[in-house]
Amino acid sequence: MTIRRTIGVLALQGAVSEHASILTDLGAHVILVRRTEHLNGLDGLVIPGGESTAIARIAAPLGLFPAVRNLVSGGLPVFGTCAGLILLAHTVEDADALAGFDRIATLDITAQRNAYGNQLASREAPVDFMPTPTVQPVAAFIRAPHISSVGPRAKVIATADGVPVAVQQDNQLAATFHPEITGESAFHHYFLSLV
Protein backbone atom coordinates (compact mmCIF):
# COMPACT_ATOMS: atom_id res chain seq x y z
CA MET A 1 0.00 0.00 0.00
CA THR A 2 1.35 3.42 -0.93
CA ILE A 3 1.07 6.44 1.30
CA ARG A 4 -0.75 9.37 -0.28
CA ARG A 5 1.74 12.17 -0.75
CA THR A 6 1.02 15.84 -0.12
CA ILE A 7 2.44 18.08 -2.82
CA GLY A 8 2.36 21.87 -2.69
CA VAL A 9 1.97 23.99 -5.83
CA LEU A 10 3.28 27.52 -5.47
CA ALA A 11 0.10 29.48 -6.28
CA LEU A 12 1.16 33.11 -6.57
CA GLN A 13 0.66 33.36 -10.34
CA GLY A 14 0.82 31.15 -13.43
CA ALA A 15 -0.23 27.66 -14.55
CA VAL A 16 -1.22 26.47 -11.07
CA SER A 17 -4.38 24.48 -11.81
CA GLU A 18 -2.72 22.56 -14.67
CA HIS A 19 -0.03 21.17 -12.32
CA ALA A 20 -2.60 20.54 -9.59
CA SER A 21 -4.72 18.57 -12.03
CA ILE A 22 -1.88 16.27 -13.19
CA LEU A 23 -0.68 15.71 -9.60
CA THR A 24 -4.22 14.89 -8.45
CA ASP A 25 -4.62 12.44 -11.34
CA LEU A 26 -1.38 10.75 -10.20
CA GLY A 27 -2.86 10.29 -6.73
CA ALA A 28 -1.24 13.17 -4.83
CA HIS A 29 -3.01 15.41 -2.34
CA VAL A 30 -2.43 18.97 -3.58
CA ILE A 31 -2.03 22.08 -1.40
CA LEU A 32 -1.95 25.55 -3.00
CA VAL A 33 0.91 27.49 -1.40
CA ARG A 34 0.38 31.23 -0.99
CA ARG A 35 1.99 31.74 2.44
CA THR A 36 4.86 30.23 4.40
CA GLU A 37 2.46 28.34 6.71
CA HIS A 38 1.17 26.43 3.67
CA LEU A 39 4.65 24.85 3.38
CA ASN A 40 4.20 22.87 6.59
CA GLY A 41 3.93 19.12 6.15
CA LEU A 42 4.62 19.01 2.40
CA ASP A 43 6.27 15.97 0.81
CA GLY A 44 7.17 17.96 -2.31
CA LEU A 45 6.71 21.33 -3.98
CA VAL A 46 6.01 22.33 -7.60
CA ILE A 47 6.95 25.81 -8.84
CA PRO A 48 4.83 26.37 -11.93
CA GLY A 49 5.36 28.35 -15.09
CA GLY A 50 4.22 31.94 -15.13
CA GLU A 51 6.09 35.23 -15.27
CA SER A 52 9.17 34.96 -13.05
CA THR A 53 9.31 38.76 -12.63
CA ALA A 54 5.74 38.84 -11.30
CA ILE A 55 6.17 35.75 -9.07
CA ALA A 56 9.40 37.14 -7.55
CA ARG A 57 7.70 40.44 -6.73
CA ILE A 58 4.59 38.84 -5.24
CA ALA A 59 6.72 36.43 -3.16
CA ALA A 60 9.07 39.07 -1.73
CA PRO A 61 6.86 40.56 1.03
CA LEU A 62 5.65 37.07 2.02
CA GLY A 63 9.10 35.69 2.91
CA LEU A 64 8.32 32.60 0.84
CA PHE A 65 11.62 32.09 -0.96
CA PRO A 66 13.87 32.03 2.16
CA ALA A 67 11.48 29.42 3.61
CA VAL A 68 11.49 27.36 0.39
CA ARG A 69 15.30 27.62 0.18
CA ASN A 70 15.65 26.18 3.70
CA LEU A 71 13.29 23.31 2.93
CA VAL A 72 14.99 22.49 -0.39
CA SER A 73 18.42 22.57 1.28
CA GLY A 74 17.00 20.20 3.87
CA GLY A 75 15.97 17.73 1.14
CA LEU A 76 12.39 18.69 0.17
CA PRO A 77 11.79 17.49 -3.41
CA VAL A 78 11.03 20.44 -5.70
CA PHE A 79 10.06 20.59 -9.39
CA GLY A 80 10.23 23.90 -11.27
CA THR A 81 8.94 24.42 -14.81
CA CYS A 82 9.93 27.38 -16.99
CA ALA A 83 9.59 30.34 -14.58
CA GLY A 84 10.11 27.77 -11.81
CA LEU A 85 13.49 26.86 -13.35
CA ILE A 86 14.43 30.56 -13.42
CA LEU A 87 13.53 30.91 -9.74
CA LEU A 88 15.53 27.78 -8.81
CA ALA A 89 18.61 28.58 -10.93
CA HIS A 90 21.70 29.69 -9.06
CA THR A 91 22.51 32.26 -11.75
CA VAL A 92 20.30 34.04 -14.29
CA GLU A 93 21.77 35.93 -17.23
CA ASP A 94 20.14 39.14 -18.45
CA ALA A 95 18.29 39.34 -15.16
CA ASP A 96 17.75 43.12 -15.08
CA ALA A 97 14.03 42.75 -14.44
CA LEU A 98 14.76 40.39 -11.52
CA ALA A 99 17.53 42.55 -10.02
CA GLY A 100 17.00 43.24 -6.34
CA PHE A 101 14.45 40.43 -5.95
CA ASP A 102 15.14 37.24 -4.05
CA ARG A 103 15.05 33.90 -5.87
CA ILE A 104 15.41 30.40 -4.47
CA ALA A 105 18.74 29.96 -6.30
CA THR A 106 19.58 26.47 -5.02
CA LEU A 107 20.08 24.72 -8.38
CA ASP A 108 23.60 24.64 -9.81
CA ILE A 109 22.84 25.96 -13.30
CA THR A 110 22.97 29.22 -15.22
CA ALA A 111 19.78 30.09 -17.10
CA GLN A 112 18.80 32.71 -19.61
CA ARG A 113 15.23 34.07 -19.71
CA ASN A 114 13.17 34.19 -22.95
CA ALA A 115 16.19 32.79 -24.74
CA TYR A 116 14.36 31.91 -27.94
CA GLY A 117 12.67 35.28 -28.50
CA ASN A 118 9.00 36.22 -28.64
CA GLN A 119 5.88 34.07 -28.74
CA LEU A 120 6.32 33.27 -32.46
CA ALA A 121 9.31 31.10 -31.42
CA SER A 122 7.22 29.06 -28.96
CA ARG A 123 6.65 25.46 -30.05
CA GLU A 124 5.94 21.89 -29.04
CA ALA A 125 8.76 19.39 -29.31
CA PRO A 126 9.51 15.78 -28.38
CA VAL A 127 11.94 15.44 -25.48
CA ASP A 128 14.55 12.73 -24.89
CA PHE A 129 13.93 12.01 -21.21
CA MET A 130 16.54 9.68 -19.67
CA PRO A 131 14.22 7.96 -17.17
CA THR A 132 11.91 6.92 -20.06
CA PRO A 133 14.35 5.98 -22.87
CA THR A 134 11.76 4.22 -25.02
CA VAL A 135 9.20 7.06 -25.26
CA GLN A 136 9.65 10.70 -26.13
CA PRO A 137 7.20 12.82 -24.15
CA VAL A 138 5.96 15.94 -25.97
CA ALA A 139 6.47 19.20 -24.16
CA ALA A 140 5.49 22.83 -24.81
CA PHE A 141 8.25 25.42 -24.94
CA ILE A 142 6.58 28.80 -24.36
CA ARG A 143 8.84 31.87 -24.37
CA ALA A 144 11.17 29.31 -22.86
CA PRO A 145 14.40 29.89 -20.95
CA HIS A 146 17.66 28.24 -21.95
CA ILE A 147 20.02 26.33 -19.66
CA SER A 148 23.30 28.00 -20.62
CA SER A 149 25.54 26.01 -18.28
CA VAL A 150 25.21 23.10 -15.86
CA GLY A 151 27.38 23.09 -12.74
CA PRO A 152 29.08 19.99 -11.29
CA ARG A 153 26.31 19.28 -8.79
CA ALA A 154 23.51 19.14 -11.39
CA LYS A 155 23.03 16.66 -14.24
CA VAL A 156 21.10 16.90 -17.49
CA ILE A 157 18.15 14.48 -17.54
CA ALA A 158 16.37 15.62 -20.70
CA THR A 159 17.35 17.11 -24.04
CA ALA A 160 15.53 18.35 -27.12
CA ASP A 161 17.55 18.27 -30.35
CA GLY A 162 20.58 17.64 -28.18
CA VAL A 163 20.09 20.81 -26.11
CA PRO A 164 19.64 20.41 -22.31
CA VAL A 165 16.04 21.14 -21.33
CA ALA A 166 15.73 19.52 -17.90
CA VAL A 167 18.18 19.00 -15.05
CA GLN A 168 18.27 17.22 -11.70
CA GLN A 169 20.35 17.93 -8.63
CA ASP A 170 19.47 15.36 -5.96
CA ASN A 171 16.01 16.45 -4.74
CA GLN A 172 15.68 19.29 -7.27
CA LEU A 173 14.18 18.90 -10.73
CA ALA A 174 13.74 21.71 -13.24
CA ALA A 175 12.60 21.95 -16.86
CA THR A 176 12.58 24.78 -19.39
CA PHE A 177 9.28 23.51 -20.82
CA HIS A 178 5.68 22.92 -19.75
CA PRO A 179 4.65 19.28 -19.41
CA GLU A 180 1.42 20.55 -17.79
CA ILE A 181 0.31 22.23 -21.03
CA THR A 182 0.52 19.08 -23.15
CA GLY A 183 -1.02 17.00 -20.34
CA GLU A 184 2.20 14.95 -20.27
CA SER A 185 2.51 13.16 -16.93
CA ALA A 186 5.90 11.40 -17.34
CA PHE A 187 7.82 14.23 -15.66
CA HIS A 188 5.41 14.54 -12.74
CA HIS A 189 5.50 10.76 -12.36
CA TYR A 190 9.28 10.91 -12.16
CA PHE A 191 9.11 13.80 -9.69
CA LEU A 192 6.77 11.83 -7.45
CA SER A 193 9.27 8.94 -7.51
CA LEU A 194 11.74 11.29 -5.78
CA VAL A 195 9.23 12.13 -3.04
Binding site: G49, T53, Q119, L120
Partner: protein, 301 residues
Amino acid sequence: MTTDSTTPSPAPASRVNTGLARMLKGGVIMDVVNAEQARIAEDAGAVAVMALERVPADIRAQGGVARMSDPDLIDGIINAVSIPVMAKARIGHFVEAQVLQALGVDYIDESEVLSPADFIHHIDKRSFDVPFVCGATNLGEALRRITEGAAMIRSKGEAGTGDVSEAMKHIRTITQEIAQLAALPHDELYVAAKELQAPYDLVVEVARAKQLPVVMFVAGGVATPADAAMMMQLGADGVFVGSGIFKSGDPAARAKAIVHATTHYNDPAEIARVSRGLGEAMVGINVADVPAPHRLSERGW
Protein backbone atom coordinates in the same frame (compact mmCIF):
# COMPACT_ATOMS: atom_id res chain seq x y z
CA MET B 1 -6.18 36.16 -45.36
CA THR B 2 -8.76 36.61 -48.09
CA THR B 3 -6.72 35.35 -51.02
CA ASP B 4 -7.96 31.80 -51.52
CA SER B 5 -11.52 31.09 -50.52
CA THR B 6 -11.18 27.37 -51.21
CA THR B 7 -8.39 26.77 -48.68
CA PRO B 8 -9.81 25.82 -45.29
CA SER B 9 -8.37 27.73 -42.35
CA PRO B 10 -5.94 25.85 -40.14
CA ALA B 11 -6.98 24.51 -36.74
CA PRO B 12 -8.03 26.79 -33.87
CA ALA B 13 -5.45 28.25 -31.52
CA SER B 14 -2.45 25.98 -30.82
CA ARG B 15 -1.58 24.65 -27.37
CA VAL B 16 1.48 26.90 -27.12
CA ASN B 17 -0.75 29.90 -27.84
CA THR B 18 -3.55 29.00 -25.42
CA GLY B 19 -0.70 27.90 -23.11
CA LEU B 20 0.90 31.36 -23.01
CA ALA B 21 -2.41 32.70 -21.66
CA ARG B 22 -2.28 29.97 -19.00
CA MET B 23 1.11 31.31 -17.90
CA LEU B 24 -0.52 34.72 -17.31
CA LYS B 25 -3.22 33.36 -14.99
CA GLY B 26 -3.57 34.98 -11.60
CA GLY B 27 -1.84 38.05 -12.98
CA VAL B 28 -2.52 41.61 -14.08
CA ILE B 29 -2.08 42.89 -17.65
CA MET B 30 -1.63 46.65 -17.78
CA ASP B 31 -2.33 49.17 -20.57
CA VAL B 32 0.73 51.29 -21.35
CA VAL B 33 1.29 54.00 -23.94
CA ASN B 34 5.09 54.28 -23.83
CA ALA B 35 8.27 52.52 -22.69
CA GLU B 36 8.42 54.37 -19.37
CA GLN B 37 4.93 53.19 -18.39
CA ALA B 38 5.85 49.67 -19.53
CA ARG B 39 8.82 49.66 -17.14
CA ILE B 40 6.63 50.89 -14.27
CA ALA B 41 4.15 48.09 -15.04
CA GLU B 42 6.83 45.38 -15.16
CA ASP B 43 8.38 46.69 -11.97
CA ALA B 44 5.01 46.55 -10.23
CA GLY B 45 4.66 42.84 -11.13
CA ALA B 46 2.48 42.97 -14.28
CA VAL B 47 2.48 39.64 -16.17
CA ALA B 48 2.20 41.43 -19.52
CA VAL B 49 1.68 44.89 -20.93
CA MET B 50 -0.82 46.04 -23.55
CA ALA B 51 0.69 48.58 -25.92
CA LEU B 52 -1.73 51.18 -27.22
CA GLU B 53 -1.66 54.74 -28.48
CA ARG B 54 -4.05 56.21 -25.91
CA VAL B 55 -5.62 54.62 -22.83
CA PRO B 56 -9.38 54.07 -23.21
CA ALA B 57 -10.25 57.04 -20.94
CA ASP B 58 -8.39 59.35 -23.36
CA ILE B 59 -9.92 57.70 -26.43
CA ARG B 60 -13.30 58.35 -24.83
CA ALA B 61 -12.47 61.96 -23.92
CA GLN B 62 -10.74 62.92 -27.17
CA GLY B 63 -12.93 61.03 -29.61
CA GLY B 64 -11.89 60.48 -33.22
CA VAL B 65 -10.86 57.21 -34.87
CA ALA B 66 -8.69 55.03 -32.61
CA ARG B 67 -6.21 52.79 -34.47
CA MET B 68 -3.28 50.43 -33.97
CA SER B 69 -0.25 52.12 -32.32
CA ASP B 70 2.75 53.48 -34.17
CA PRO B 71 5.27 50.63 -34.78
CA ASP B 72 8.08 52.72 -33.24
CA LEU B 73 6.09 52.98 -30.04
CA ILE B 74 5.48 49.20 -30.00
CA ASP B 75 9.18 48.49 -30.68
CA GLY B 76 10.10 50.84 -27.83
CA ILE B 77 7.85 48.94 -25.44
CA ILE B 78 9.10 45.51 -26.63
CA ASN B 79 12.68 46.67 -26.01
CA ALA B 80 11.85 48.12 -22.59
CA VAL B 81 10.47 45.01 -20.86
CA SER B 82 11.08 41.26 -20.51
CA ILE B 83 7.42 40.30 -19.97
CA PRO B 84 5.07 39.53 -22.89
CA VAL B 85 3.90 42.51 -24.96
CA MET B 86 0.37 42.60 -26.34
CA ALA B 87 -0.92 45.20 -28.78
CA LYS B 88 -4.35 46.15 -30.07
CA ALA B 89 -5.71 45.85 -33.60
CA ARG B 90 -9.11 47.13 -34.69
CA ILE B 91 -11.93 44.59 -34.94
CA GLY B 92 -11.74 43.06 -38.43
CA HIS B 93 -8.55 44.92 -39.39
CA PHE B 94 -6.52 41.93 -40.51
CA VAL B 95 -3.70 44.04 -41.95
CA GLU B 96 -3.13 45.80 -38.61
CA ALA B 97 -2.90 42.28 -37.20
CA GLN B 98 -0.40 41.27 -39.91
CA VAL B 99 1.70 44.31 -39.02
CA LEU B 100 1.61 43.50 -35.30
CA GLN B 101 2.65 39.90 -36.02
CA ALA B 102 5.52 41.20 -38.18
CA LEU B 103 6.60 43.47 -35.31
CA GLY B 104 6.92 40.40 -33.08
CA VAL B 105 4.31 41.16 -30.42
CA ASP B 106 3.48 38.18 -28.18
CA TYR B 107 -0.32 38.58 -28.35
CA ILE B 108 -2.77 40.64 -30.42
CA ASP B 109 -5.92 42.06 -28.82
CA GLU B 110 -8.65 42.41 -31.44
CA SER B 111 -10.27 45.15 -29.45
CA GLU B 112 -13.53 47.05 -29.31
CA VAL B 113 -11.62 49.87 -27.59
CA LEU B 114 -10.32 50.87 -31.03
CA SER B 115 -12.68 51.96 -33.81
CA PRO B 116 -13.98 48.84 -35.61
CA ALA B 117 -12.74 48.34 -39.18
CA ASP B 118 -15.43 45.79 -40.05
CA PHE B 119 -18.97 45.81 -38.69
CA ILE B 120 -19.70 42.27 -39.88
CA HIS B 121 -16.56 40.11 -39.73
CA HIS B 122 -13.88 39.66 -37.10
CA ILE B 123 -10.30 38.77 -38.08
CA ASP B 124 -9.73 35.14 -39.22
CA LYS B 125 -7.39 34.50 -36.33
CA ARG B 126 -6.67 30.91 -37.40
CA SER B 127 -4.61 32.23 -40.30
CA PHE B 128 -2.05 33.79 -37.91
CA ASP B 129 0.81 32.24 -35.92
CA VAL B 130 0.63 34.85 -33.15
CA PRO B 131 -2.12 34.33 -30.55
CA PHE B 132 -5.16 36.60 -30.16
CA VAL B 133 -7.25 37.72 -27.21
CA CYS B 134 -10.77 38.94 -27.96
CA GLY B 135 -13.50 40.63 -25.95
CA ALA B 136 -16.87 39.08 -25.14
CA THR B 137 -19.97 40.14 -23.26
CA ASN B 138 -21.65 36.73 -23.25
CA LEU B 139 -20.94 33.05 -23.87
CA GLY B 140 -22.07 32.99 -27.51
CA GLU B 141 -19.75 35.87 -28.37
CA ALA B 142 -16.84 34.16 -26.54
CA LEU B 143 -17.45 30.90 -28.44
CA ARG B 144 -17.61 32.67 -31.80
CA ARG B 145 -14.26 34.33 -31.09
CA ILE B 146 -12.72 30.98 -30.03
CA THR B 147 -14.05 29.42 -33.24
CA GLU B 148 -12.31 32.16 -35.23
CA GLY B 149 -9.06 31.21 -33.43
CA ALA B 150 -8.89 33.35 -30.28
CA ALA B 151 -6.51 31.79 -27.72
CA MET B 152 -7.79 33.85 -24.79
CA ILE B 153 -11.02 35.65 -23.90
CA ARG B 154 -11.36 38.98 -22.16
CA SER B 155 -14.79 39.88 -20.79
CA LYS B 156 -15.32 43.42 -22.04
CA GLY B 157 -16.68 45.56 -19.26
CA GLU B 158 -16.86 49.22 -20.27
CA ALA B 159 -13.31 50.40 -20.94
CA GLY B 160 -12.14 53.84 -19.86
CA THR B 161 -14.88 54.43 -17.29
CA GLY B 162 -13.40 53.20 -14.00
CA ASP B 163 -16.93 51.84 -13.39
CA VAL B 164 -16.75 48.11 -12.67
CA SER B 165 -20.48 47.43 -13.12
CA GLU B 166 -20.28 46.32 -16.77
CA ALA B 167 -17.29 44.05 -16.04
CA MET B 168 -19.44 42.55 -13.29
CA LYS B 169 -22.36 42.08 -15.66
CA HIS B 170 -20.25 40.39 -18.35
CA ILE B 171 -18.39 37.91 -16.15
CA ARG B 172 -21.59 37.02 -14.30
CA THR B 173 -23.38 36.52 -17.63
CA ILE B 174 -20.66 34.27 -19.04
CA THR B 175 -20.30 32.15 -15.88
CA GLN B 176 -24.10 31.82 -15.53
CA GLU B 177 -24.47 30.78 -19.17
CA ILE B 178 -21.74 28.13 -18.72
CA ALA B 179 -23.47 26.79 -15.59
CA GLN B 180 -26.83 26.66 -17.40
CA LEU B 181 -25.25 24.86 -20.36
CA ALA B 182 -23.59 22.32 -18.07
CA ALA B 183 -26.96 21.54 -16.47
CA LEU B 184 -28.71 20.77 -19.76
CA PRO B 185 -29.48 17.18 -20.81
CA HIS B 186 -27.40 16.16 -23.81
CA ASP B 187 -30.32 16.23 -26.25
CA GLU B 188 -30.93 19.93 -25.54
CA LEU B 189 -27.40 21.00 -26.54
CA TYR B 190 -28.33 21.15 -30.25
CA VAL B 191 -30.81 23.95 -29.67
CA ALA B 192 -28.42 25.54 -27.15
CA ALA B 193 -25.81 25.71 -29.92
CA LYS B 194 -28.34 27.31 -32.25
CA GLU B 195 -29.27 29.91 -29.63
CA LEU B 196 -25.64 30.64 -28.75
CA GLN B 197 -24.84 30.95 -32.48
CA ALA B 198 -21.80 28.78 -31.83
CA PRO B 199 -20.59 25.42 -33.20
CA TYR B 200 -22.24 22.37 -31.63
CA ASP B 201 -18.96 20.55 -30.86
CA LEU B 202 -17.58 23.55 -28.98
CA VAL B 203 -20.84 23.91 -27.05
CA VAL B 204 -20.62 20.24 -26.01
CA GLU B 205 -17.00 20.71 -24.94
CA VAL B 206 -17.93 23.67 -22.71
CA ALA B 207 -20.95 21.85 -21.26
CA ARG B 208 -18.74 18.86 -20.32
CA ALA B 209 -15.79 20.86 -18.96
CA LYS B 210 -17.99 23.48 -17.24
CA GLN B 211 -15.50 26.10 -18.41
CA LEU B 212 -14.22 27.75 -21.57
CA PRO B 213 -11.43 25.87 -23.39
CA VAL B 214 -9.26 29.00 -23.07
CA VAL B 215 -8.30 31.34 -20.25
CA MET B 216 -10.71 34.20 -19.48
CA PHE B 217 -9.55 37.48 -18.00
CA VAL B 218 -11.80 40.37 -17.01
CA ALA B 219 -11.40 43.91 -18.36
CA GLY B 220 -13.15 47.24 -18.52
CA GLY B 221 -13.55 49.43 -15.44
CA VAL B 222 -11.20 47.80 -12.93
CA ALA B 223 -9.67 50.69 -10.94
CA THR B 224 -8.95 49.47 -7.39
CA PRO B 225 -7.41 46.44 -5.64
CA ALA B 226 -10.91 45.52 -4.40
CA ASP B 227 -12.27 45.65 -7.98
CA ALA B 228 -9.56 43.23 -9.12
CA ALA B 229 -10.08 40.86 -6.18
CA MET B 230 -13.85 40.84 -6.76
CA MET B 231 -13.34 39.77 -10.40
CA MET B 232 -11.06 36.95 -9.22
CA GLN B 233 -13.64 35.83 -6.65
CA LEU B 234 -16.21 35.75 -9.46
CA GLY B 235 -14.03 33.27 -11.33
CA ALA B 236 -11.81 35.39 -13.58
CA ASP B 237 -8.41 33.88 -14.44
CA GLY B 238 -6.81 37.34 -14.20
CA VAL B 239 -7.46 41.01 -14.88
CA PHE B 240 -6.68 43.67 -17.44
CA VAL B 241 -6.33 47.16 -16.03
CA GLY B 242 -6.44 49.96 -18.57
CA SER B 243 -6.92 53.57 -17.59
CA GLY B 244 -7.24 52.60 -13.91
CA ILE B 245 -3.49 52.67 -13.32
CA PHE B 246 -1.98 55.48 -15.38
CA LYS B 247 -5.00 57.79 -14.87
CA SER B 248 -4.62 57.51 -11.08
CA GLY B 249 -2.64 59.70 -8.69
CA ASP B 250 0.21 57.22 -8.00
CA PRO B 251 0.41 54.65 -10.83
CA ALA B 252 3.38 52.65 -9.46
CA ALA B 253 1.81 52.15 -6.03
CA ARG B 254 -1.65 51.39 -7.43
CA ALA B 255 -0.25 48.93 -9.99
CA LYS B 256 1.63 47.03 -7.26
CA ALA B 257 -1.42 47.02 -4.99
CA ILE B 258 -3.66 45.62 -7.74
CA VAL B 259 -1.09 42.86 -8.45
CA HIS B 260 -1.03 41.81 -4.78
CA ALA B 261 -4.83 41.99 -4.45
CA THR B 262 -5.17 39.74 -7.52
CA THR B 263 -2.98 37.05 -5.90
CA HIS B 264 -4.58 37.37 -2.43
CA TYR B 265 -8.12 37.84 -3.75
CA ASN B 266 -9.62 35.70 -1.00
CA ASP B 267 -7.85 37.50 1.85
CA PRO B 268 -9.77 40.69 2.82
CA ALA B 269 -7.14 41.72 5.40
CA GLU B 270 -4.45 41.61 2.72
CA ILE B 271 -6.65 43.56 0.27
CA ALA B 272 -7.23 46.16 3.00
CA ARG B 273 -3.49 46.40 3.66
CA VAL B 274 -2.57 47.02 0.02
CA SER B 275 -5.48 49.45 -0.49
CA ARG B 276 -4.04 52.01 1.96
CA GLY B 277 -2.35 55.22 0.84
CA LEU B 278 -2.75 54.80 -2.92
CA GLY B 279 -3.79 58.42 -3.53
CA GLU B 280 -6.51 59.36 -5.98
CA ALA B 281 -8.17 56.65 -8.04
CA MET B 282 -9.03 57.57 -11.62
CA VAL B 283 -11.99 59.93 -11.60
CA GLY B 284 -14.15 57.79 -13.85
CA ILE B 285 -17.57 58.06 -15.45
CA ASN B 286 -20.67 56.11 -14.46
CA VAL B 287 -21.59 53.79 -17.33
CA ALA B 288 -25.19 55.02 -17.06
CA ASP B 289 -23.98 58.51 -18.02
CA VAL B 290 -22.33 57.20 -21.21
CA PRO B 291 -24.82 57.48 -24.09
CA ALA B 292 -25.46 54.06 -25.64
CA PRO B 293 -23.79 54.83 -29.02
CA HIS B 294 -20.56 55.57 -27.14
CA ARG B 295 -20.47 52.31 -25.20
CA LEU B 296 -17.46 50.34 -26.43
CA SER B 297 -18.76 46.99 -25.17
CA GLU B 298 -21.51 47.07 -27.81
CA ARG B 299 -18.89 46.81 -30.54
CA GLY B 300 -18.32 43.20 -31.66
CA TRP B 301 -20.76 40.69 -33.09
